[in-house]
């Protein structure tokens, strides 16, 4: 086989040489034979003639030789392509319609597949990614990767893996000093062996090489990303040895990582990587923190030849040993179901956060675009059927002169493949043009999701395969039908075979199928759009309109901690004095801001079946509730009298009161918040309304405890003082100009009080909600776009088939009109024909939607998958569209001029 392919290849690539060699060889034969004949006494001329005659036709022999080399198929293919190209360029309207139908379908598919590839499929561009595993805990759905540094050291020292490393990417926005102020850059802290263990591709310089994270004076070195190298240093090769200043420390750049490597977290690009040892400079306990489990991630590389199960067994032993030590015991023996066993989570495609979140949405979108492509295919199939009818004479002639049917089918398939490939190429262009717009849908919130959606081999392969499959799918049936012709009638008549108008043709079946699929796509889009609306209009218990928020950070080195209380008080005063401000407050957290703060609570007299119980906590100034419009149900709110020296007081949410106190009056009761060094007793002075604090989609409201900012609390993280970073929230009278003015003055207000204050993420409450609804918004936006695409393609399909039907029946309609039929009757009959096709399609579609809607159930909020309103709405949209699309051909039918119609043909 290989020999033959090579032989064919050699012949193909050196076709000229092959042909001339063949000519020479045969000429030699003729000459040699003629010479022999001359030698035997035949006259020269006669000898030449005999040689030629006995040899037979040289052209025929040459053709047989070519065939022996497997060239015939290639030649015919070339001929087919040339022929197909000619016939396509002779019918530009057909070609444009067909190519566009396919391009839109394939474009949508490629765009979604590009996203899938970036989020779900692509392996990390590091050495042997298949060998890497996150060492987390708890198998299956409960899997978590939280860890701490001592835990990493245990795994590293156990020697189970070929290498173990640890890193922390979560929320590391480094403020890098530049000539014009500070620049916030995403980064990560990694262990000294990170680059070596992962095999991170380095384009310039080196990765970290120090194995020692506990060095007393760590190396102040940094590795930067290719992106940052280009942005900040213009890819200058002498970047090595330059420094970046972060929090008054100068880090020497020792290397640049390759453009393809972002980080182990899909969607996150670590532009600056610093040694984890640096963290210990600011937080002495960081490397020895046993008690907490934080967002450190441990990654191990399997030894060559070691199986995952073996590694897991050994890892589990180390895990249990570590967790049963006194400091970790409380977690290990706690009532929750976590921290039960070690788990190895494949790291080849990075961490699963984005993947978990987007697997179902992307699958649903992929399903939708596949349906859109089917609609596009049906369009082209219809066009081809119509064209096949028009070409029946040509086919009959070709069959008549002895062309094989298989040969003709191949010719037709070549043409449909050409259409599909042209559509695929155009679709690819459309996909990459829209990919950036799609990615920007993800970047609404404070944390940007960076996805590499540039064309790559996987995506190109996908598109090529889909194009070829498409070409065969929509081309095969028309090709078979077109060549199944009874010769005599097609040759005799003028091609007007099926002249009966109301007949149910293949074309109509295809259109009904398109409409059915379209109903499904539009119904799903409707469900997703209404989910987004439900979430946006949901009464979450707090005001969303006319509220402006921004974060202020006072941790800069120049900002002394003693000045913080006065700074905050002055800032609020200053903001309150601005025109239009109704209320201004400070808080540690705001609703739906991605933050989590759950603390342990002990309520005297309360026994829980769940073991240790927790509540969600927030620290606020008294005006917080007025700003967000959260009402007081009982007791009193916070006042200025609840200062640092006053008794510690707390407000609780209705859900909290109900859960811990049942029907008893909670006012005046005390509880203990926190554990260990952080224990404090608080007395309840009031009950306030429930809000959705962490999530909009939640069945039961969060149990909340609020404490006054003035009375402080030590946070979960002992490093951060409560007053270090706060959010300012401002409610205005309702003029949007005031919001804009406040947003612009925010930075100035804070800077005027202290030049080291850093204001970030200025947003309205509605924008904050949008940032929490990225997934829903992506789904609603894209599914609406695909729904519209499906609708347009179906409408075009329906119009095409109906218009074609009318065109073929012009003569019949002409006769009917000549015999006295009213034009309105013709109009209504044609419309009725459209309506019956539409009704069949739409009814089937509703059935399909009822069956398929269940698969999007997990994505919905506030409505059922079989929501009748959505289904009726989708069906109505489609019905109106189809009748409009059908009206044009109907009017054309009614406008037929009988004389004209009878004269033609």
């Amino acid at each position: 086989m290989l020999t033959r392919l090579r032989s064919l290849g050699a012949t193909l690539f050196r076709r000229d040489r092959f042909e001339s060699a063949m000519r020479d060889e045969m000429q030699f034969h003729l000459d040699a034979y003629a010479d022999d004949l001359v030698a035997a006494g035949v006259p020269r001329q006669e000898a030449d003639r005999r040689a030629r005659v006995e040899f037979g036709g040289t052209e025929r022999v040459k053709e047989e030789c070519r065939q022996a080399r497997g060239l015939r198929i290639v030649d015919e293919l070339r001929q087919d392509v040339r022929y197909g190209w000619r016939s396509m360029s002779k019918a530009p309207a057909f070609t444009t319609a067909a190519v566009l139908s396919i391009a839109l379908g394939i474009g949508a598919n490629t765009a979604i597949f590009t996203l899938m590839d970036a989020v779900l499929l692509r392996s990390m561009p590091i050495r042997d990614p298949g060998e890497l595993y996150f060492i987390g805990h708890d198998p299956g759905a409960n899997a978590s990767m939280s860890a701490n540094y001592p835990m990493f050291e245990r795994y590293r020292d156990a020697g189970i893996f070929g290498g173990v490393t640890v890193y922390d990417t979560r929320g590391q926005g480094f403020r890098v000093a530049t000539e014009d102020g500070a620049d916030t850059v995403d980064g990560q802290f990694v262990s000294g062996n990170y680059h070596a263990v992962l095999g991170v591709p380095i384009v310039l310089g080196r990765g970290f090489t120090s194995e020692q994270d506990r060095a007393a004076s760590p190396d102040l070195v940094a590795v930067i990303s290719d992106h940052y190298w280009a942005r900040r240093f213009g890819r200058s090769p002498d970047v090595l040895g330059k420094t970046v200043t972060i929090r008054e420390r100068k880090f020497t750049i020792v290397g640049v990582s390759a453009a393809a490597f972002y980080s182990l977290d899909p969607g996150v690009r670590a532009d600056i990587t610093l040694p984890i040892s640096v963290r210990a400079l600011d937080d002495k306990e960081f490397l020895d923190n046993h008690t907490g489990f934080i967002s450190l991630r441990i990654v191990g590389r399997l030894r060559k030849g070691m199986r995952e199960t073996q590694a897991l067994a050994a890892t589990d032993t180390v895990f249990h040993q570590y967790m049963s030590e006194p400091e970790q015991r409380w977690v290990y023996e706690g009532a929750s179901k976590s921290f039960r066993a070690a788990a190895l989570i494949p790291a080849a495609r990075g961490t699963g956060d984005l993947r978990r979140q987007y697997t179902t949405p992307l699958n649903v979108l992929m399903g939708m675009v596949a349906l859109v492509l089917l609609i596009g295919c049906a369009n082209v199939a219809n066009l081809l059927l119509a064209r096949a009818a028009a070409r029946s004479k040509e086919v009959a002639v070709r069959l008549g002169v002895g062309a094989g049917r298989a040969r003709l089918v191949r010719q037709f398939l070549t043409e449909s493949l050409l259409v599909a490939l042209a559509g695929g190429a155009l679709g690819l262009v459309l996909a990459f043009a829209s990919a950036r717009a799609i990615v920007s849908l993800f970047n609404v919130g404070p944390i940007s999701v960076l996805l590499d959606v540039n064309p790559n081999a996987t995506v190109l392969t996908f598109t090529t395969l889909v194009s070829v499959a498409t070409g065969i799918a929509f081309g095969l049936v028309p090709a078979l039908r077109a060549t199944r012709i009874e010769l005599s009638p097609a040759l005799k008549e003028n091609g007007g075979a099926d002249a009966h108008g109301g007949r149910w043709t293949t074309g109509k079946t295809l259109v009904a199928g398109q409409l059915a699929i379209c109903v499904v796509v539009i119904a799903v889009a409707g469900l997703l759009v209404r989910t987004l609306q439900n979430l946006k209009t949901l009464d979450a218990g707090f005001r969303k309109d006319h509220v402006l928020l921004y974060d202020v950070d006072t941790t800069a080195v120049g900002f002394s901690t003693e000045r913080r209380p006065a700074f905050w008080a002055e800032l609020v005063e200053r903001v309150r004095a601005r025109p239009g401000v109704v209320s201004a407050s400070l808080s540690r957290r705001t609703p739906i801001d991605f933050s989590m703060e759950f603390r342990r609570i002990e309520v005297p007299g309360f026994q829980s079946k769940e073991g240790i119980t927790g509540v969600s906590t927030n620290v606020v100034t008294p005006e917080y509730f007025a700003t967000f419009g959260i009402g007081l149900l009982r007791g009193r709110g916070f006042t200025a009298q609840d200062h640092a020296q006053a008794p510690k007081v707390a407000l609780v949410s209705a859900a909290m009161a109900r859960f811990f106190y049942g029907d008893d009056d909670p006012i005046g009761r005390s509880f203990i918040l926190g554990g260990g060094r952080l224990r404090d007793t608080w007395t309840i002075v009031g009950v306030i309304e429930d809000v959705r604090q962490e999530r909009l989609r939640t069945s039961e409201p969060t149990r909340m405890v609020y404490t006054p900012l003035a009375q402080g609390t030590r946070g979960l993280d002992p490093r951060s003082d409560t007053l270090a970073r706060l959010t300012v929230e401002i409610r205005t009278a309702g003029d949007s100009d005031q919001l804009t003015a406040l947003a612009t003055s925010a930075r100035g207000d804070a800077r005027a009080l202290n030049k080291d204050a850093v204001v970030s993420y200025v947003r309205t409450m509605n924008e904050q909600i949008d940032a929490a609804l990225i997934k829903e918004n992506v789904l609603a936006t894209l599914s609406t776009a695909f729904g519209a695409l499906a609708l347009i393609l179906s409408a075009v399909g329906l119009y095409g088939v109906m218009a074609y039907g009318v065109a073929r029946r012009t003569r019949e309609i002409g006769i009917r009109l000549a015999l006295g039929a009213a034009r309105s009757t013709v109009l209504w009959q044609t419309l009725r024909d459209t309506f019956s096709v539409a009704a069949t399609g739409i009814m089937t579609g509703i059935g399909g939607a009822l069956l398929l809607a269940e698969s999007v159930k997990v994505l919905l909020f506030g409505l059922e998958p079989r929501d009748p309103l959505t289904l009726v709405g989708s069906a109505s949209i489609l019905l109106v569209t189809t009748l409009l699309a059908g009206y044009l051909p109907a009017r054309k039918a009614a406008a037929v001029d009988p004389m004209q119609a009878l004269r033609t043909e």
């Binding site: 033959r4 032989s7 060699a21 060889e25 034979y33 006995e54 040899f55 022999v61 047989e64 065939q67």
Partner: protein, 113 residues
Amino acid sequence: MAKTADLLPGTLDLLILKAVSLKPLHGYGVLLRIQQISGNALEIPQGSLYPALYRLEHQGLITAEWGESDNKRKAKYYTVTTAGRRRLREETEGWRRLATAMAAALDATPDEV
């Protein structure tokens, strides 16, 4: 001229292999050689020789190389490959068995039945 026999299907390839296995030959030479070794009993239709040569070359059983003919002209010479030699051996055996069997069958007399 001696009485010539028509070629049985499939035998042309075998004859070509045999001819070029004795000595590298150009196309015309193959023709002459087959006539010679078959005692002029087999006549090869000239036109079918070349497709057969190309087919065998395509299958990797013979290879071709340009060389100089006896009368100082450029000619394409065919040589048998290892795979071709193996094929020749196998087919020769098969052919012998068939020929013996056919001969035995056709020589059968009523007494032997």
